[in-house]
Each structure stands twice: as structure tokens, then as C-alpha cells.
């Protein structure tokens, strides 16, 4: 049944806290193959890569590696079976040398004393593989492309036959990407298999032998790369009209006088000349690929990051020296993208989380008005249908959807005029998503200006009156949702991205 496949995955399913991320995905990887793995944000491509490398356990399905059934699969066992994974964030020890990193955990020792043979062994390995690096260089001083070579050497030192590369090119220059591709071809020609997870379609098309497309955690197709084009891949990634939940009807603002104007905003964090406006009662979408600077633009607007240049106007008046506090006082708030890291304090109860940005209002003389706090929190909990509906509830045990509702509720408590929502429905269940979408529509209908940041183009098209596309920290297109399709926008984003990469200095 394996037919000599290096790796066979059958019926793989993965869910995180009840939300299915992968459903019944099957694929096989041949020896001596570069296998591209693509899909939209959240399609499950990285998750699948991590399952193969043993980092996530599949809840259903089986894995076979070189014909042997993989059981109790974990990173160590995967490595021992010849499967290595290169993470998006490289996992090197920055202060050690190249040789020490490559042989980390594989040091030769005698009576527990290191024999310091790493340099000699690395020379042999480099001679055999053709990669050249200074064995004694300190890793933190090397460019990322070289650090990636270390990861590859590390995989080779462990005699990996299958290497999973998760978004290896996201921080590489064009030049370094070609170097990596040369290396990948070399590994393939030695009979190794590479699983290449990436959202750079051009890169995948350039080097992959076969391509697997995922959509919403499901396998769409596995095809030879030779017959594919960028547009055929985009079409497969998007599928045909799915729209699992209806979006609320759009209420056009009567006259969208601008309430927030941003001009040429530059920040060290990543905004690079962003210009946009949001009108009263308007939902304005902002989307882009990973690394496009969507969130960084928002952070610079509200003052979470310092800005290096540009101008922000609120209700026509220039707003300088921005900070979260001043923004809130002006009625402008931002719900950040990562609810666990940036949004909620998991050790505090629901009501305390909701009132955290508004303490001055709930404690005018420093002493908390706990009854007022409770009643305002209860109102929001009812409005968003948070489960459990308890203002004293423990947020850490709430589901992702309810945490997200609490997070958005926290920012809406003082009826702001401008609301920036960064990924308001990421990783939440369908019910919560629908509730959040209706809340956003209601907000705009009440006259609030909403800047909706989302990596899901569908969400932006479904909710926004107008939408911006971001790339490289600036706005590159403005589109009317009714006149655009998801496929068009995605193609536009890829176009801008590859143009920028080509222009980037090598």
C-alpha cells in the first residue's frame, strides 16, 4: 500500500480546543521529492507540517514513515525516524558556534566530557553536502540565510531523510531565497524528501515537484507542479463560493465624513508610509498577507508603537504624541490580534478584564465602584452572549470564542467613536464569529467608525464598505468589496508582494 513512499499520512485530523483545524487530510510524499504545501492563512498548512514533525498530535488518522507505522509520534521519535522540521522561527542557540549548534545533543563524549570533535565532524558533513559555513562563527552574528543552512545541516547531521520546512523564506531576501532553492534541489537529488510549506506561490512553483493545496483544514488536491500556474493555485486555495455563515446586511453610512485620517504613517515597528481614512458609521477593511504590516499600521495609529513620521487626524484635528491612553480619551480604541498575549489578563476575572482600560471611569477617586463595574460588565456579557454569563467568571477557562467576545467587549465598554479590530474572529467557533460580525455591523450602524483588520479576505469583503490592501507597511490598493472577488484580491496581494521582493536589495 505504501508503494515505496517516504511518508504517508492518511485521514489526519487535528482540533484545538474543540475547533477543527485539519479534517481528514491524506497525502503521500515520495523519496527525492520537493512537495509544496500551500493554502490561505488558517488553511492548516503549518499545522500539517507540525503534525508530520511530531509537534502536534493528530486526533485522528495514521502516519507511516518509510513503511513503518508511526505511533506515539513526537519530535524526538520523528527525528529518530528520519523526519526533521525547520521551524518558521529558527530554533538555534544564538550564542553558540555553528558547529556546536549543528551537533547540539549529538556531541561525542567520553566519561561525560565533551571531546570537542564537532568542528571536524562538521567539516566532513559540509564536504559531503556542499554547504559552506565557518564552523566557529557565532550563530547570532550570521545572516538568516546562513542560519537556515545551519538548520539544514542540523537535519543532515541527524540523517534526516524527510525535512519539513515551515515558511523558510519569510525573512529572506530574493537572493537568499534562490540560495535556499539551490540547496533544496541538491537535497532532493540525494534522494531526500522536502515538504515545503509556504505562502509564496512563486517560490513553490519554482522549486516544487508536486503541490498539495489545503483549504479550511481540508485537502483540496495534490498535483504535479508542472501543470499549475499562480491563478490555478489561487483558485484551488479559495474554492468555489463557500460562505459558511451569512454576513449581516451592510448599512451604508449616510454621509461618511472622515473621523480618522492617517497620512504617510511611518513607524520603526513596520508602518512604512500608510495612508487611509475611516468615516463615521463606516466599516473599512484592511487586509494583507503575513508580514504585510497590517497590525503594525494599527499599532502606530493608536500609539501602541511610537511613530517616526506621518500624521494622524481624529475628527479633523491633528493628533500628535499618541498613546493608548490619549487615544482612549479621544474615543479611539484597538482590540489587538492576539487575545492570549496582548488582549486578556488570564489571571483576572471577566469583569476586571473588561474594565481594565477604563479604570479611571470606574474609580474616579481611586476606589473601584464594584456594583457599577458588575452591571456594566453584565450588560456587555448579555450583549455578546458570553458563556458562562458570569462577570466573576474565570477568563482562562472560557473558550476562544468567548474570550474574543470578552476582549472586544472590553474595548466597546465606553462607546468609542473609532474602533480598530485586529483579527476579531481568528480561531473562534462559528457561533461566536457570527455574533462578533453582527456586533461589528451594529457598531457601524450606530455611527462608530470601524477599521477591520483581517487576514481573511472573505471576512473583509463580507463586512466592509470599503477595503484597503496592505503590503510592506503601506496601503497599496483601495477596493470596493461589491466589485471585487476574493480571488482577485488575493492575486493582487501576491503581485504586490513579489514585486516588493524583487525590488528588495539582495
Amino acid at each position: 500500500m505504501t508503494g515505496g513512499a517516504a511518508l504517508t499520512a492518511s485521514g489526519i485530523g487535528v482540533s484545538f480546543s474543540g475547533v477543527a483545524v485539519l479534517r481528514d487530510v491524506s497525502l503521500d510524499i515520495a523519496p527525492g521529492e520537493i512537495h509544496g504545501l500551500i493554502g490561505e492563512n488558517g488553511a492548516g498548512k503549518s499545522t500539517l507540517g507540525k503534525v508530520l514533525g511530531g509537534y502536534y498530535a493528530a486526533s485522528t488518522g495514521t502516519l507511516e514513515v518509510f513503511g513503518a507505522r508511526a505511533q506515539a509520534w513526537d519530535p524526538l521519535l520523528a527525528l529518530a525516524s528520519g523526519v526533521a522540521i525547520m521551524h518558521q522561527e529558527l530554533q538555534l542557540v544564538p550564542e553558540l558556534t555553528v558547529a556546536e549548534n549543528v551537533f547540539l545533543g549529538l556531541e561525542e563524549q567520553r566519561f561525560g566530557v565533551l571531546r570537542r570533535t564537532e568542528v571536524r565532524r562538521l567539516e566532513e558533513l559540509m564536504a559531503a553536502s556542499g554547504f559552506r559555513l565557518d564552523p566557529n562563527a557565532i550563530v547570532s552574528r550570521l545572516p538568516i540565510a546562513d542560519q537556515q543552512k545551519i538548520e539544514i545541516l542540523r537535519a543532515l547531521a541527524r540523517e534526516a531523510r524527510i525535512i519539513v520546512m515551515d515558511e523558510p523564506t519569510s525573512s529572506l531576501s530574493r537572493d537568499e531565497v534562490s540560495q535556499l532553492h539551490v540547496a533544496m534541489r541538491k537535497l532532493r537529488d540525494e534522494g531526500r524528501s522536502i515538504i515545503y510549506v509556504s505562502h509564496f506561490l512563486n517560490d513553490i512553483l519554482e522549486v516544487a515537484d508536486r503541490i498539495t493545496v489545503l483549504r479550511d483544514g481540508e485537502h483540496v488536491k495534490t498535483v504535479p507542479a508542472a501543470g499549475e500556474t499562480r491563478s490555478s493555485l489561487v483558485a484551488a486555495m479559495l474554492g468555489g463560493g463557500k460562505s459558511e455563515t451569512p454576513f449581516p446586511p451592510k448599512v451604508r453610512p449616510v454621509r461618511a465624513e472622515p473621523i480618522l485620517e492617517v497620512m504617510n504613517l511611518v513607524s520603526p515597528g513596520g508602518a512604512n508610509g500608510a495612508t487611509l481614512t475611516v468615516g463615521r458609521g463606516e466599516i473599512v477593511g484592511l487586509t494583507g498577507l503575513v508580514g504585510s504590516g497590517r497590525s503594525e499600521i494599527a499599532r502606530a495609529i493608536v500609539g501602541a508603537d511610537p511613530a517616526a513620521g506621518g500624521e494622524v487626524r481624529v475628527r479633523g484635528a491633528p493628533y500628535r504624541k499618541r498613546s493608548i491612553r490619549r487615544s482612549a480619551a479621544l474615543g479611539m480604541v484597538m482590540s489587538p490580534e492576539d487575545r492570549r498575549k496582548q488582549g486578556l489578563v488570564m489571571t483576572m476575572r471577566t469583569s476586571s478584564n473588561m474594565t481594565l482600560p477604563h479604570l479611571a471611569r470606574f474609580a474616579p477617586d481611586g476606589i473601584m465602584r464594584r456594583r457599577l463595574e458588575r452591571s456594566r460588565a453584565t450588560r456587555l456579557i448579555e450583549h455578546f452572549r458570553v458563556r458562562p454569563p458570569d462577570p466573576n467568571g474565570d477568563v482562562s477557562t472560557c473558550s476562544g470564542g468567548n474570550q474574543q467576545k470578552i476582549l472586544i467587549g472590553k474595548w466597546l465598554m465606553e462607546n468609542p467613536d473609532i474602533v480598530i479590530l485586529d483579527e476579531p474572529s481568528r480561531g473562534v467557533d462559528v457561533g461566536a464569529r457570527e455574533r462578533i460580525h453582527f456586533a461589528i455591523a451594529e457598531l457601524a450602524a450606530g455611527g462608530t467608525g470601524v477599521l477591520l483588520i483581517s487576514s481573511e479576505i472573505e471576512e473583509v469583503l463580507g463586512l466592509a464598505h470599503r477595503a484597503y490592501l496592505a503590503d510592506g507597511g503601506r496601503i497599496v490598493e483601495e477596493v470596493i468589496p461589491e466589485e471585487s472577488s476574493e480571488a482577485e484580491l488575493l492575486a493582487l496581494l501576491f503581485q504586490h508582494q513579489s514585486r516588493r521582493h524583487e525590488a528588495a536589495p539582495a
Partner: protein, 310 residues
Amino acid sequence: MTRFHFGRFLQAYAVLIMIAVLIGALSFLSDSFLTYRNLLNILNQNAPLAIMASAMTLVIIAGGFDLSVAATFAVGSVVSAWIALHVNPYLGLFLAPFVGLALGTLNGVVINALRVHSFLATIATGLIFKGVAIVISDGRLISVRLEDFIWLGRGRFLEVFNAVWIMVAFALVLTFLLNRTAFGRRVFAVGGNEEAAILSGIRTDRVKTATFAFAGFAAGLASVIATSRVALGQAGAGEGMELQAIAAVILGGTSIYGGAGAVWRSLGGVFLLALISNGFNILNADPFYRDLTTGLVILAAIGISVSGRR
């Protein structure tokens, strides 16, 4: 499910359970333990440490550590004695807590300016404070046998030592601050998730500095009580109290990772340690085993609190 709740219960009240067990055992083993006199003495003797541990609770909830409080205590001791001797006894008693407040604030400023973990910063500032105390006292003991100075540490109000009243009042004030004020909310938020606190518009640097200011004030307050009790100011005073205070806070069940805890827990921690010590005295047990036993009890408490956390 029941198991889980049992674990949670243990975790939440481990310190009280251990105190109850210890009181039961000591009352059974000795007639002189459960007397008004003995219990009041335990409270009185440990009041300075309890005051410092109460304030340390705020620091730890906000995600920090203060290793300089013992040195602040030493500065408080020599400053209060020196002023009492050369200027005015009352001024000496009054000023030392504010000297502590200033040193604590300085800690906060240093931590924020250098952006280092408070653990590191307060090791350094602690050495500096200690050095200042030695310089002020010229390395000598400052004896203050003045009625106007020693009344605070030795006197009583309504049959109970002044020190105990001060300790109770201070702990109540901090409890109120933590649980009923916006400041308290900020302290919990900073320790629970600093990034979320920053994105909620909380000036986390100020909140952290304030917790260190409280720790410094408490060390100063504790030092005047102790100094007035022994009528002696010395740069060697308070040695080791920073670790005792931290141990008491953790023993009480306040999270070492920040974001959760309570002042009463730290008082529990202080008196659990005090009871062990008192037990050794009362039972005439070999004092060589005291540190060993104390270490085992701390380990047991940590074990219980970890077992409750899933």
C-alpha cells in the same frame, strides 16, 4: 472533578491548613504554647517581618522581586537612630519610613531606566543601600536609650503591643489597596499580563515603581519598630529579612509568576515560619534542626501549591 476541587482547595488554603495543624500539634505537645502571652509574643516579634512581607506581596503580584528591602531596613535603622540621637527622637521615628519610601522609589526608577529584571537591579541597589547604612553609622552601633524613642517598639495600646497594631493596620490598608482600588487592579494586571496591561493604557512602569515604593516604605516602617525595640541602630540590622519575606509570600500561596495573590497569605506565611521557630523553643528541640525543618516545610508548601495547579 472532586479531586480537582480538592486540589484547588488545598492550593488556596495550604498555609492556613498547615498553621492549624501546627497549632494543634504544639498545643498538644506543650502547655506553654497556647497561652495569650506566647501567642502575643509571636505576633509582636514577627510584626516587622510581617510588615515587609505584606508589601513584598504587592511587588511579587506585579511580577517583581525586591532583594534590597533588608538593606533598606538597615538604612532605616541607622537613620532613625542617628536622627533620634542628634536631632529629635520623634523625627527619627517619623522619617525612617519615608527614607525607605525614597529608596524604594529609586529601585523602581532604576529598574525602569535600565530595563532589567528587578531581581538583578535590587541585588545591586541593596548593596549600595547597605553601604550607605555602614557609612552613616560609621560602622558602629548607635545606641538610643531615650524613652521618647523606645516607646514605639516596646509600648502597648489596649493590652496589645504597638507593633501588632501597626502590622494589622498596614496589612489592612494594603489589602484594601489591592482589592478595592484602581491601583490594585493595575498591580494585578501588570503581573498577570504586562503586554495586555500596556495595550490597555496602563503605565506599567509607574505601577511597578509604586509597588517598590511600598516595599521600601514597609522596610523603613519595620526598621523603626525593630530599632526602637532594641534601642539600637546598626547597619547589620535586618540581614536575611529579604529572603524571609519572599519565602513567606511564596509560602502563603502568592504566585511567584505574578498576577495572583493576597496580603493575608503572606501574613500566614510569616506566622507559619514563626510557629516552627517557636515550636523549637517551646519544645526545647535541638535548634540545629530548625533550618532543616523550615526548609522542608517551605518545600512541602510549594509541593502542595504545584499539585493544585492541575
